[in-house]
Symmetry: C2
Subunit: 151 residues, 2 copies
């Protein structure tokens, strides 16, 4: 496994590679939450990390069209064999810089309350976390929301 990583802006063509590994990387079905539209229309603010030809990680985020102060991170994944090495943090910091450069002052994300590693990670990165919000993504769904000031 090469340790060299290349980080670059995503393209629409990255969708198929990401969709092919998402369920495996998460260990549960998640690809329903990642339709192609996210790469087609938000690739310019999303990023892919590659080690040679292998996908090492990715971040899908966008600058909110309707909330001029906000940026939103929808999906971030790191290859299971590459976790714990700071790659997710690098992807987040890259997105923070990109959003701040556009004048955004807050970045938000959500996760399921049971996703303790995600909550710990976001807290370490300076995000606040809400109590679980019932009905967040529709009836029966529960999420916590993350928020972090920028700049």
């Amino acid at each position: 496994m090469t340790l060299d990583l290349r980080l670059r802006t995503a393209t629409p063509a990255d969708y198929d590679r990401i969709a092919a590994v998402a369920d495996d990387w998460w260990g549960r079905p998640v690809s329903h939450a990642l339709p192609r539209l996210f790469l087609d229309h938000f690739h310019a603010t999303s990023a892919v990390a590659e080690a040679g030809d292998e996908l090492a990680g990715f971040l899908i985020g966008f600058l909110s069209p309707s909330l001029p102060d906000a940026a939103y991170i929808h999906f971030v994944g790191v290859h299971p064999a590459r976790r714990g090495a700071g790659l997710a943090r690098v992807l987040y910091e890259r997105f923070f810089a990109l959003a701040a450069a556009d004048g955004r002052t807050v970045v938000r994300a959500v996760t399921a309350p049971v996703n303790a590693p995600s909550i710990a990670f976001h807290t370490a990165l300076g995000f606040t976390v809400t109590a679980p919000i019932p009905g967040y993504d529709g009836p029966g769904d529960v999420k916590v929301r993350f928020e972090r000031p920028l700049g």
Copy 2:
């Protein structure tokens, strides 16, 4: 049932009403495809139709941040008792005008190949429709893509 309709720009607060009816209006589970982020971040280009206090229909669409020529329609619903009266067409025409005013030259959408009413509707509105595309929204998924020039 009142026939008076009011059409207005959506707000983030419309999410809960839309999520509450989506599965019923579609007759199958669809709310997983409609997370809150779509109203939080695309409400300014989305619309709600109301008849008194009742939700009559909605359109969720956005101007692509990464593709400067493109607009995208993600979800459109009309109350089952109000179908066939042209409301969906009104919602689409409103979005076309909004997108064209921003300089967008093409509008896109997708649906499942089995959704014959959606394919007929989009064709009548001037969209072209592709052959079914395997793996469109991830492994095992199949979609057709609609496209219509603007202006």
